[in-house]
Amino acid sequence: MRASRSHDDRGDITIGTMWLGVVLIFFLFAMLVGGGFLRAQGDQSDRSARRAARGAAMTIDVDVYRSSGEVLIDKTAALEVAQAVAGRSGDSIENLYVTKDDAGRDVVVVEVSRRARMPVLGGVLPVELVTIHRRGAARLEPAT
């Protein structure tokens, strides 16, 4: 035999589910807007890394190139330039190195990072918990 339900309990689960749903919708909304900001800042870092790499690639030691044909960058100057360029956009240099691309050409690679702000719910809760890492590369092409 089925036990009869108390009148007061009716609808308790559905009301609870409704509140859970409301909280979930607010959370999803906050993540959607915050995610948009994170993506925008990721794009900024991406462009900043490429600008920093282009700047670093301009510090080729011309005298060495003209005397030996070897393409070398002045690592100290390259780091200074990359930091100056990336720092203006709020990024920090994580790493800078020269490597070969798929076609065997010399490229300078710059890795940057930034602490991203994620304004949740219109800036009511500004959370800074995400570090964005991006990488940019530029070919080493000495002027002749």
Binding site: Q44, R51, R54, I73, R88
Partner: protein, 146 residues
């Protein structure tokens, strides 16, 4: 059981109303990050154009022109865009060990992204977006460019 009929429909209806009320906020709020991306791209484009010029004056003028053109097609509210071009470090220098240190051009752009541009949202205020970028100036551009 007859008493339970419709008990799930009411919360679902309320959830639907909350979702419908929040949707315009989501659409309107997405304009700010999209605007930020556009302003950053405009500043970067202007800085790159400026870095290809031969003199600081030409660089400043070119950056202003490029930024204005790029911002014209952006989400920025008309008349709120401010473009500041810094060419004080435009000329590069030679380092003691023989390499050339490139010069630098900086572009700072700020503008207002209007709230509720696509969907009017009561109580939502305009957002000020400010971006600054720098571009290195190729010390050999003059011999290559013209």
């Amino acid at each position: 059981m007859r008493d339970d009929r419709g008990s799930a429909t009411v919360p679902l209806l309320l959830l639907g109303i909350v979702l419908i009320l929040l949707a315009p906020f989501a659409v309107a709020a997405s304009d700010v990050p999209l605007g930020l991306t556009e302003v950053d791209a405009a500043a970067g484009g202007a800085a790159r154009v400026a870095a290809a010029e031969r003199s600081p004056d030409e660089a400043r003028a070119a950056a202003q022109r490029a930024a204005s053109e790029l911002l014209r097609r952006s989400r920025c509210k008309e008349g709120t865009s401010v473009v500041d071009v810094d060419v004080s470090a435009f000329e590069g220098e030679r380092t003691p060990n023989g390499s050339r240190r490139p010069g630098m051009v900086s572009v700072r752009v700020e503008c207002t992204i209007p709230a509720g541009r696509r969907v009017p949202v009561p109580g939502m205020t305009d957002s000020l977006v400010r971006v600054e970028v720098a571009e290195a100036v190729d010390p050999f551009r003059a011999s290559n460019a013209r």
